[in-house]
């Protein structure tokens, strides 16, 4: 699956962006399948906005986001759902877990959303063990710390098949050790699927062997 940006420019940030140089906004960019992409961006430059555009939950932009050569606006609701179930996964900055479900149920929801789950329940347990969240799996997600929730959101994003993984500051609330573990798990899962990812963060980091670096 190829993701392509064609003169993409967020309407609310237009004036601010046009005053300075950006490696993403208002450019023609192609994200090649399987590549590890890092987008570094200071606060307020539209990092989260970009992820939302790529995931198609916002569309207040000019220009185009092309998925397999087709702009998001040409996709139907059920087509978009299918893409999100099979080809495009996401870790939101604000995590977006269901508070009325336990941590495990949040993961399960995504796992059993497709008729033939990609992961086994055992694999979920393994991933939880790797990220040190096994002990909170049966707690209501409301009661988890932000760091624990972040790791649950990461596992949730990894239980589905995907060709691209979008991550918006995925390690913001993790300590170094847990960040290292999470990054290793993500890299492993991406390689297993021959998938690429697009990660946005505030600073430089060495968590992954990035193929491409952009400055937003």
């Amino acid at each position: 699956m190829q993701i392509q940006l064609d003169q993409l420019l967020p309407v609310p940030l237009k004036d601010k962006i046009l005053q300075r140089k950006s490696g993403i906004w208002n450019e023609n960019i192609v994200f090649n399948p399987g590549s590890f992409v890092k987008i570094k961006a200071p606060s307020g430059t539209g990092k989260t906005t970009l992820v939302h555009y790529l995931y198609n939950i916002r569309n207040d932009y000019t220009g185009k986001v092309l998925v397999n050569g087709k702009p998001w606006s040409d996709y139907g609701r059920n087509e978009i759902a299918l893409l999100r179930q099979q080809q495009l996964s996401v870790i939101f900055q604000d995590l977006r877990l269901f508070e009325q479900l336990t941590a495990l149920e949040n993961i399960e929801l995504k796992r059993v959303m497709i008729p033939q789950p990609y992961c086994t329940p055992e694999r979920v347990q393994e991933m939880a063990a790797r990220l040190n969240v096994t002990h909170v799996l049966h707690q209501s997600s409301k009661t988890l710390s932000y760091g624990e929730r972040q790791r649950i959101a990461i596992i949730r994003a990894l239980v589905q098949p995907f060709e691209w993984l979008l991550m918006d500051e995925p390690f913001s609330h993790l300590d170094e050790e847990n960040t290292r573990r999470a990054a290793a798990l993500i890299a492993e899962e991406c390689s297993a699927r021959k998938a690429g990812f697009i990660l946005t963060d505030l600073d430089d980091d060495q968590h992954f062997a990035y193929n491409v670096l952009y400055q937003l």
């Binding site: 609701r77 759902a81 999100r84 179930q85 009325q100 399960e108 929801l109 995504k110 059993v112 008729p115």
Partner: protein, 399 residues
């Protein structure tokens, strides 16, 4: 999908406004029962009217003549049906067949044989053979036969047996005896007079007259006919599928015709029953409409109250189709249960109607009609469609 729906159940709570939902379900049930009863009552009434089991044999033959009024008395030509009037009667949609009743143009005297000492002036009439309900092999006459087959009205024998014979101290006569009695029939026209033997071959409820075969009537009118006597018919017998047809009653009244009123009495009953059935059906439909309204509002309420959750589900990749299936799955089984229960109620009611009516010699089927089942299917489909449209509309609108 089951595991997914189980999780959805924790996210999209369908429990809110349950009271309203139960009321609406009750409303749907009552509406359904009313509609099904209306359909079933209609079918039962038709069965009572048209089914072979309930057909009394006079039901579909009517003898029509003009009403005799004071102003007509003494003017026999006013009683005659003109060709135009006959054609008009035949043109009516409810007339399946018609036959003119031909009167004799000669004088007839009947005498009972032997000791009975009974003689009377009488007359004959004939109708086309297809209108004769006494199918006797000897309902035939050919020139040269001295025996004339005769059909008497049932009422005639009753008048004799229960009126005349009792008051005159005469013996009562059974149908069999009458059939065995050879009557002496003297036919004359003033010039010639001949004696025949009359043989009663049957009794009719259908046409109140003394009937002879049409072949004899034609022959005898030719031979004994008095010139100048009535040559046109004043009575016509029609075959109709439904003597209670209000259109038929109206036609008769409009044209000043009359017939055996007893045969038409069903017409009034039918109008009343149809009105009652229509009112029941109408209330059923109104109730159904409100039940549908409440259901669709209830679904709207659920979707509105879970707006954020539904949005997040869709963000995570849940297809609108999946949500739609989930939501419909929460309600549709209940509708089917309501449909089945309503049908069962109607089945029980119909069976009771069958038992009660059977005691009065009226036959209705012990099971509801196919129409009733079809009606239940239609109502359930309607409810399903309204639910589907509502769910679709609000699920899509929400994002």
């Amino acid at each position: 999908m089951h595991a997914f729906f189980a999780l959805l159940k924790k996210i999209i709570r369908t429990g809110i406004g349950k009271g309203r939902f139960i009321m609406a379900s009750l409303g749907l049930g009552i509406a359904m029962v009313l509609i099904l009863i209306a359909l079933q009552a209609n079918s039962d009434f038709n069965q009572l009217l048209y089914s072979d089991k309930n057909q009394n044999e006079t039901a579909d033959f009517l003898v029509i003549n003009k009403k005799v009024t004071n102003s007509m008395m003494g003017q026999p030509q006013k009683m005659v049906l003109s060709q135009e009037e006959i054609d008009n009667i035949r043109r009516q949609p409810f007339v399946q067949a018609s036959g003119l009743i031909t009167s004799s143009k000669f004088k007839v005297v009947a005498q009972a044989p032997g000791e009975l000492h009974f003689a009377t002036d009488m007359f004959f009439e004939s109708v086309p053979d297809s209108f004769i309900d006494v199918k006797e092999d000897d309902w035939k006459w050919e020139p040269g036969n001295r025996v004339i087959p005769i059909i008497l009205p049932n009422d005639f024998l009753n008048l004799y047996n229960f009126g005349f014979s009792l008051s005159q101290d005469l013996p009562q006569i059974s149908q069999e005896t009458v059939k065995a009695l050879p009557l002496q029939i003297v036919i004359s026209n003033g010039l010639i007079s001949e004696t025949y033997t009359g043989h009663i071959v049957g009794f009719s409820d259908r046409i109140s007259s003394f009937l002879v075969p049409a072949s004899f009537m034609d022959w005898a009118n030719e031979k004994y006919g008095v010139a100048g006597t009535a040559t046109t018919a004043s009575r016509i017998v029609i075959k109709t599928a439904d003597p209670s047809n209000p259109a038929l009653v109206k036609f008769l009244n409009d044209n000043g015709y009359t017939t055996n009123q007893d045969k038409l009495k069903f017409s009034k009953t039918r109008v009343i029953v149809q009105t009652i059935v229509s009112v029941i059906g109408f209330f059923g439909l109104v109730l159904l409409f409100f039940a549908l309204l409440v259901f669709s509002m209830f679904i709207q309420l659920i979707i509105a109250s879970c707006k954020k959750e539904i949005q997040l589900l869709v963000t995570l990749g849940t297809a609108p189709k999946q949500l739609q299936r989930y939501l419909l799955k929460q309600f549709i089984p209940l509708y089917i249960v309501i449909g089945v229960v309503s049908l069962l109620i109607v089945v029980v009611l119909q069976y009771q109607a069958h038992v009660v009516l059977a005691k009065h010699d009226m036959a209705v089927s012990p099971l509801p009609a196919a129409w009733t089942f079809a009606g239940a299917a239609v109502v359930i489909s309607l409810v399903y469609i309204v639910n589907l449209v509502t769910v679709r509309k609000y699920i899509l609108q929400d994002q």
